[in-house]
Amino acid sequence: MRIVIDRPRCEGHGLCEEIAPDLMHLDDEGELILDVEELSEGSPELADAGAAVRVCPVAALTLA
């Protein structure tokens, strides 16, 4: 699966980073950087990725 960001929607709240700091972070300008984009089926990080995309209050992230 792949983490997809809808960049114009992102407001830099950073809740995704707080739940999955190994997968994504905000840079110095507050832009979200995906450190991991592709996740294989059965990857232990999938649950974290699922949580990270769901806590975004502006729905800027999806798992596709």
Binding site: H13, E18, H25, L46, R54, C56, V58
Partner: protein, 376 residues
């Protein structure tokens, strides 16, 4: 906790962000047993912060990314009772569900000025927001009761929709939320955009359009909306023996009783300023993470260490705040020189904890958190 005691069948009551995050966190921690989530609204979880911000203003999306935790969903059904002895939750469709582990995440509902059945509009659910947006589109005159962040966001959205708007405030807007400096700044921005603020304490409503104040005066408009706080949804727990003084009080790991945790707006949790509810999106998420782990690992799970994060958008101002609010006194400006922005401000509480607030300035929240603590 010994492995033999680990729950195999976990029931999550409440399909908001706390319930959803609990499901995600359980799976992330390796729980592969039966997981069921029950929600009283017949729809997928949605973003509640988006309702009074994007959705009300420009129809922006409230959808959340669809679940990947593979919990069985029981939607459109409310919990009506909990039997801790037999470990079962009864539902309003007459059925009941067993559990080994239970997550209570039933959230809260809008407090109403005229009581549970009164006719004013409130904004808590997606249905509420859709109704309010439709009503605002006809550009009625509007009275908003309540000068907290939600009342101010509603007033701002109503002004943007072209309505004439009066706000009934029982004090300076958002004073108890943000402190005097930002209260003044936001009130000035609101008035500059055309908001009429009536200072008074609302006593009740006399019909769908009129608010009666304690001094006997009346404020009326085509549309009456109240935003006067929330009431935790604990009625279904009244007889279960887990309530403390009418409250659902969790310990520092979200635990309520054996095999039972709570998270989100429904729960009071230990904070630096006592055991209290923190009805914020960010708080619900942090509580749910902690509670899910406590259900699996007990005392070995981490304790709640929540550093509040809050944001609001209204009257052309976009505010992001970290730390314990309100912020007393005047700020130290780390960027800019006006509380109406663009600026980053810091306050330091007497106990050394800091508050950092950015207004109309994009900043990574982890950095804002570091700025809040750097003043200590």
């Amino acid at each position: 906790m010994k492995l033999t005691e680990a729950p195999r069948r976990i029931l999550v009551i409440g399909n908001g962000i706390a319930g959803q995050t609990a499901c995600d966190s359980l799976r992330a921690a390796g729980f592969d047993g039966d997981l069921t989530i029950v929600g009283d609204e017949p729809r997928a979880a949605y973003s509640r912060p988006a309702l009074s911000k994007g959705l009300l203003v420009d129809g922006g999306s409230h959808a959340l990314a669809p679940p990947t935790h593979e919990a069985a969903e029981v939607l459109g059904v409310a919990a009506v009772g909990l039997d801790v002895e037999s470990r079962r939750v009864s539902l309003d469709d007459g059925s009941d569900l067993p559990y080994d582990g239970l997550v209570i995440a039933t959230g809260s509902r809008a407090r109403r000025l005229g009581g549970e059945d009164s006719v004013e509009l409130t904004l808590r659910t997606l249905d509420d927001a859709l109704v309010l947006r439709e009503r605002l589109a006809a550009r009625p005159s509007v009275v908003v009761v309540g000068a907290g962040p939600l009342g101010m966001e509603i007033a701002s959205a109503a002004l943007s929709a072209g309505c004439r708007v009066t706000l009934v405030a029982d004090g300076r807007p958002m004073l108890s939320h943000l402190g005097p400096c930002l209260s003044d700044a936001f009130a000035a921005a609101a008035v500059a955009r055309g908001l009429t603020i009536v200072v008074g304490s609302a006593a009740g409503i006399d019909d769908a359009r009129g608010v009666v104040l304690r001094d006997g005066s009346r404020v009326a408009a085509d549309l009456l909306v109240s935003a006067i706080g929330d009431i935790p949804n604990t009625e279904w727990l009244a007889a279960c023996g887990l309530m403390t003084g009418g409250r659902l009080e969790a310990d520092s790991r979200g635990r309520i009783g054996p095999g039972i945790v709570a998270a989100g707006d429904v729960a009071a949790v230990p904070t630096r300023t006592g055991v209290r509810r923190i009805p914020l999106w960010s708080s619900a998420i942090e509580q749910a993470k902690v509670a899910a782990l406590a259900l699996l690992a007990g005392d070995e799970a981490p304790e709640l260490d929540f550093d509040p994060y809050f944001w609001t958008e209204q009257f052309g101002l976009n505010l992001k705040a970290t730390g314990d609010l309100p912020a007393a006194g005047e700020p130290e400006f780390l960027l800019g020189d006006s509380p109406r922005g663009p600026s980053v401000m810091r306050w330091t509480h007497d106990d050394g904890h800091g508050v950092a607030i950015a207004v109309n300035h994009r900043i990574p929240i982890p950095r804002l958190r570091r700025m809040a603590s750097a003043g200590a």
